[in-house]
Point group: C2
Chain length 458, copies 2
């Protein structure tokens, strides 16, 4: 029966409790019956929360294919634990059921001795495929592709093609898009199973295939590959080597994972955290500390400049202590204005909506937005200062003028720095709030004191 997902989530805790009870009472047949009604991802999530010693037993209750699918979804520690408990035959069974890209993911996470054991158990053919994918750099298209795809020849008929899919399809990760290659393994076209099914049986592949195929190179960046899926609505994209020979495909589910990972990474970098690919709840305290402290230190030390600026105007401040009260407001508003611009540009860059050549247009637009925002904020602030804070006209003028200048500088720095970073090959996400804030703080304080000098003669 089709369950609504809401119901399922609500019952997660209940389900876990009944499974623990069944396990205690050794009701293994019932447990098995429950497992086969669940999705692999859900079984894995439940297993991850079970006591370690129960894991091997529970895992052995799963039918072979479901076992492999569940194994892929489990976290590294649980996988390692299970592998240690596996006999060689059991290990072989799981490894043979894995798709190549999943086997590679597994191998990349395991310690060397476990990797050796996995590779020893894999079929020679599977081992060759795994090694093929392992040779590509991390985060490249080659490293996330699978080498299992349906390959057709241009001279085949539709009915030959369907026969071939029937014969070999069971081991392929996707059969929905088939690729057509020539005698030299060069990619010359693609054809969807939809086209094949809707065509006459004796039509020739060459005549009905799509010959304008968008492909990626093995060394292309995985984020770029994921963006292509978003742009063109593909279910799979072919991966070719330098000679345009087809070596693998990336499927949409992997592209989706890459998209989520890259977004998380962007957000972490934007919040001054060294990115990690572990979920928060599974990262230890020390690891979290190590990911966060370097940037905090760097940014704290950079704030020394703002300290110097204030110290060098110490006498002026002593004469006009009222000015100090507005330092936090100026700094925060500058930081917020700057990060509005920088986050917009960073996101536009990662979605490929903004390119470096747009720099002049972006700066022109941000200047106009900055003037509008600056003037609105300054007027509001001026009224507030005069009516509620009861400061003198001159102080109100100094604060409000600084506000306009700060917002302007913040927006320009905020939009220009990510574009500049991208141009010189840095990650634009680094140029987000924390960095911008530190830069804008110093500049806005300098402007504040300079403007105060003119108006208040301090």
């Amino acid at each position: 029966m089709a369950n609504e997902i809401n119901t399922m989530t609500r019952n997660e805790a209940t389900l876990k409790a009944s499974i623990e009870r069944l396990l205690e009472n050794k009701r293994y047949a019932t447990l098995k019956d429950i497992f086969i009604t669940l999705q692999p991802a859900d079984i894995a999530a439940m297993f991850d929360e079970m006591p370690e010693e129960a894991l091997p037993l529970l895992f052995r209750l799963l039918p072979k294919e479901l076992a492999a699918e569940t194994f892929v979804e489990m976290d590294d520690d649980a996988q390692e634990l299970l592998i240690h408990g596996f006999s060689d035959t059991e290990l072989k069974e799981v490894v043979d059921e894995l798709y190549v890209d999943d086997a590679v993911d597994l191998i990349e996470e395991m310690p060397a001795n476990v990797v050796m054991r996995i590779l020893r158990q894999a079929d020679p053919e599977v081992r060759a495929k795994i090694n093929e994918v392992l040779k590509y750099p991390e985060d490249s298209a080659g490293s996330i592709m699978t080498t299992e795809f349906v390959n057709l020849r241009p001279t085949m008929t539709v009915s030959d093609s369907i026969k071939r899919i029937r014969r070999t399809g069971v081991d392929k990760e996707t059969i929905y898009t088939c690729y057509v290659t020539d005698d030299n393994r060069k990619l010359i076209g693609m054809i969807s199973i939809k086209t094949l099914l809707l065509a006459d049986e004796d039509e020739i592949v060459m005549d009905i295939m799509e010959s304008n195929v968008i492909s990626v190179n093995t060394l292309d960046d995985q984020e770029r590959v994921a963006n292509l899926f978003g742009k063109y609505d593909f279910l799979a994209i072919p991966v070719v080597d330098g000679e345009n020979r087809l070596v693998g495909i990336v499927t949409v589910d992997d592209a989706m994972d890459v998209m989520q990972e890259e977004t998380t990474e962007d957000m972490e970098v934007m919040a001054a955290i060294t990115p990690t690919d572990k979920p928060y709840m599974k990262t230890g305290v020390l690891e979290t500390y190590r990911k966060r402290i370097p940037w905090l230190l760097v940014l704290m030390i950079s704030a020394t400049f703002t300290g110097w600026i204030i110290s060098s105007y110490e006498n002026a401040l002593a004469a006009q202590v009222a000015l100090t009260a507005y330092i936090p407001m100026l700094m925060d508003t500058g930081g917020n204005s700057g990060s509005q611009a920088s986050v917009t540009v960073i996101r536009g860059l990662s979605l490929d909506e903004i390119k470096f050549r747009d720099l002049p247009r972006v700066i022109f637009k941000e200047s106009r937005v900055a003037i509008l925002c600056g003037v609105t904020l300054a007027l509001t602030n001026f009224l507030k200062l005069m009516l509620f804070d009861g400061v003198g006209l001159q102080v109100a003028l100094v604060v409000s003028l600084t506000l306009i200048c700060t917002v302007f500088v913040a927006k320009i720095i905020g939009c220009a720095l990510p574009l500049a970073a991208k141009k010189i090959g840095f990650d634009p996400a680094v140029m987000a709030s924390p960095f911008i804030t530190t830069a804008v703080d110093a500049i806005s304080l300098l402007m504040y004191f300079q403007i105060a000098k003119v108006f208040l003669g301090i």
Copy 2:
């Protein structure tokens, strides 16, 4: 020939130039030959940059199906322009080629008079389907679903099913997952075309279908639907009504778009921007201003509190002006520490990795991370103050102690507020840096002056 995407992007400008030249010389046949080698998304991007008056002419060069696919990818303004230029017959041709979900997207963006014209031209059957989808609230599963899917009956054989797909599949958005319903249109199973193709021709659908189907309700939030795709690697997910009757499906390409939109929205909210679904380069200055100014105003006014705190310690500051120099550093470090925690938790919440019930564990973890970070920062800062800034031991102690407290408070507020927001049904992303910074500023200043009072007796 399969092009590498790199080459394609590099040649974008060249391509645009040659198309303009061909258009000038009225070489329409050549233009058509070029267009049919391109992807709809790329043609649309190019059309969006062409002079308005050339658009109808260029669009008419496209073959019917490519025309509809390109139309879907164009921006609102260009779509509206084209529709105004269309004859009724032309409009009908485009609308009939659209998938229902794309037609609904179009209608939601167009002004009322254009909508009337579109609906008038649509087939009665298409119009009924469009109206069906239009009735669901924005951002619900119902509003992004398509009502065109392959529906099988449990008693059909595999060969009947394949025949049915062959007969009706051409109009369906996806034929890769077929859904099985009973006499009351209730969803009772699903079967992939892979299973059908690999099965014997006379097997019965009921015997080989997957009967544990995960479905969503028409009113479920679209972000939740998109997350299910990430979790379960589906190509499509069925949408059912309150009585478990199948009313539509959401396909992976639409889920991917939702995922990107929702991420952009999260990032905008986190940077204190009212979210918009228009790309940055297509948003006007005034619109950008309107999206940014409310939050800047609110946050500026909130900074009044920090101003008050400083004012009320004016005399203390006048006596110890050195303290002022460290205000920006304390505020920035607090803000950065807080946003590290809040961004991590916000992202964990949108990926469903963190739930409200994790609150105590999250707080416990953040406290330990906070103490480690706080102590490291305070020690570094203490050394810097004593060795380089040459301040007195007491000032150094006050600043360093405040640093520890600030980091601690910032991390706790940073992790707890997004969870609390989620619990009471607010968007957790609002509780990101700008908001946290404003809150932490006030608290850290209060602590600063209190600690200073104790140590410096001011």
